[in-house]
Subunit: 325 residues, 2 copies
DNA sequence: CTGAAAGCGCTAACAG
DNA sequence: CTGTTAGCGCTTTCAG
């Protein structure tokens, strides 16, 4: 194991000089800097994270609490995690995985000083973790938008605006009766933040536009077709579906493609663009920029840690996906 | 922040006594132990991870390199990660996420002393990381089974045996001509370890049993049906499909369900049981125990770190899923 | 059974 | 522009 002292000796300088070369926190002569950098490379030196962390009281590690729960779309979660990881790495930070569903785990990691801040996914509208997080001694960022998040930093996709955007588009297209097929029942039952907001925006804007609209939970997988059947049975005049369930989308589209028992039904999807754009039968896609969301969350957390960012919500505005993408 | 010195003072003992109470590395009188534990609870003391790690030269953190690559089934990856995380937490370890596709990242984390060992997922048959890992100063466990892994600890599902088991079962059922629809083309093109082995076992056992067998890559999602069409067009006598692609399974099953243009085609799936058991049209499932795999991997890594385990492969034997599960 | 004290490798005053 | 040094909080000898 090579230490900072080895490097200092090899370069013929003191250890503080080596430290300052690494941190850039004071000016070093060109020549000295080069000697030190040379020595570091020659000895293939890596600073010891624990020593650095003990002395500096910071870790360069972000905690991430990601859900592994029933009904949660794993693609979206993975993309969020990937985005957060990429952003963190770009700023020389690592990510420590915290067990889900466990506010105590976050607190443990925080108090042991293992992380400089935490990023929390899959937040519910009335999330029990929110209170605990506000008490925490370290910065926290939620990806999601709970009700009582006044003192917290939140980053999310603007699901309510997406719901409005969808209703407006469907109204423009001349539809009269439409339906939102949303997240799986378990997710809605938990009042996951995004599901509540999407529904609210969609139903409000539908009403404002004079549309007849309904909103239903929709199971992932083949079971989705039953919901389609039920909607068309109860409201046979339905001519468009707004689908927010990536794992149900292909089944819904397949059920409707050239089906003889229904009139033409248009499908508008809310989904990561690359997952929905090439599903046959889907005519329009509002992109759910999952990776961007993760990146923004990580960025917000880094800013909060740096003290350049206070409480408040940052919402990513919805956009239609570019079909050529 | 409360330190070990605060606890020692509150309990009226020395800091080494507090340390030994925590580690259990020497015998402490009942009474002293209770006083110390009391003080720790009263002050809600958490030992500082970095200080502990600096002094003890170990971190209680496992590095995890998980893939986020085209075609990889995210459900399976998530389950493996969940299993590893659960096992790690059960042994008081945490998990640091390492960026995928980046051997340098593993080395960086290792040399900075951020992790006690690394767990590597999605290993390819000839994986460039294998050589680098063997050089590494810390224990590594692969989930997967590359060709040249002599000096490494490997844990995997026995895909080759699963291939054989599938062929045997189909032969027992009286089929004559069968086909394996496997991982997506990108995965097979990378020669991901499991895909190669599954095919080998399936084709060999098919031949031994006198079956006519083919093996093809199969894209995930709706595109899977085209492969089914192609197989049935080229080999119209095919009466059974062995499917190893969770994301294609429902589409394949739907394509075949009561299709007028084909004879009855039986579907045998290799998939996490809970994902495949309730897909209509799937008659039999060989379970892919993803969460167990992650847990075994983590366990193997902990054992390797503890020095109670040397190089070698541990393969989990295939089993048919219990349909009542 | 318990204490005292020497580090672990680094950062950041303080002192030129 | 550079060096000296006092910690950071803990583990673990060494000494009772």
């Amino acid at each position: 194991m090579t230490t900072i002292a080895d490097v200092a000796q090899a370069a013929g300088v003191s250890i503080s000089t080596v430290s300052y070369v690494m941190s850039g926190k004071r000016t070093i002569s060109q020549e000295t800097r080069e000697r030190v950098e040379r020595a570091m490379a020659d000895l293939s030196y890596s600073p010891q994270a624990s020593a650095r962390s003990l002395a500096s009281r910071s870790t360069s590690v972000l905690g991430l609490q990601a859900p592994i729960r029933a009904g949660v779309d794993v693609h979206v979660v993975m993309q969020i995690v990937a985005g957060a990881l990429k952003e963190a790495r770009a700023h020389h930070h690592d990510i420590l995985l915290l067990t889900s569903d466990d506010a105590a785990g976050v607190e443990r990691a925080a108090r042991a000083g293992m992380v400089d801040g935490v990023l929390i996914l899959d937040v519910e509208t009335s999330d029990p973790r929110v209170g605990a997080l506000a008490e925490l001694s370290i910065p926290a960022v939620l990806i999601g938008l709970p009700d009582a998040a006044d003192d917290l930093v939140c980053v999310d996709f603007d699901f309510e605006a997406a719901g409005r955007l969808a209703a407006q588009r469907l109204a423009e297209r001349g539809h009269q009766s439409v339906a939102l097929l949303g997240a799986p029942p378990q997710v809605q039952a938990r009042h996951t933040s995004y599901s509540d907001r999407l529904m609210r925006g969609f139903l409000a804007a539908s009403e404002a536009a004079g549309l007849t609209a309904r909103a239903l939970p929709c199971p992932s997988g083949p079971g989705a077709t039953e919901v389609v059947d039920a909607v068309l049975a109860e409201s046979p005049d339905t001519t468009a579906l707004f689908v927010h369930n990536e794992a149900a989308l292909p089944f819904i589209a397949a059920r409707l493609m050239g089906a003889a028992d229904t009139g033409p039904v248009e499908i508008l999807a809310l989904s990561p663009a690359e997952l929905a754009l090439h599903v046959p039968g889907v005519s329009d896609v509002i992109d759910l920029p999952a990776e961007t969301l993760g990146a923004r969350g990580a960025r917000a957390l880094l800013d909060a840690i740096g003290g350049t960012r206070g409480p408040g919500a940052e919402l990513i505005a919805p956009r239609f996906a570019d079909p050529t993408g």
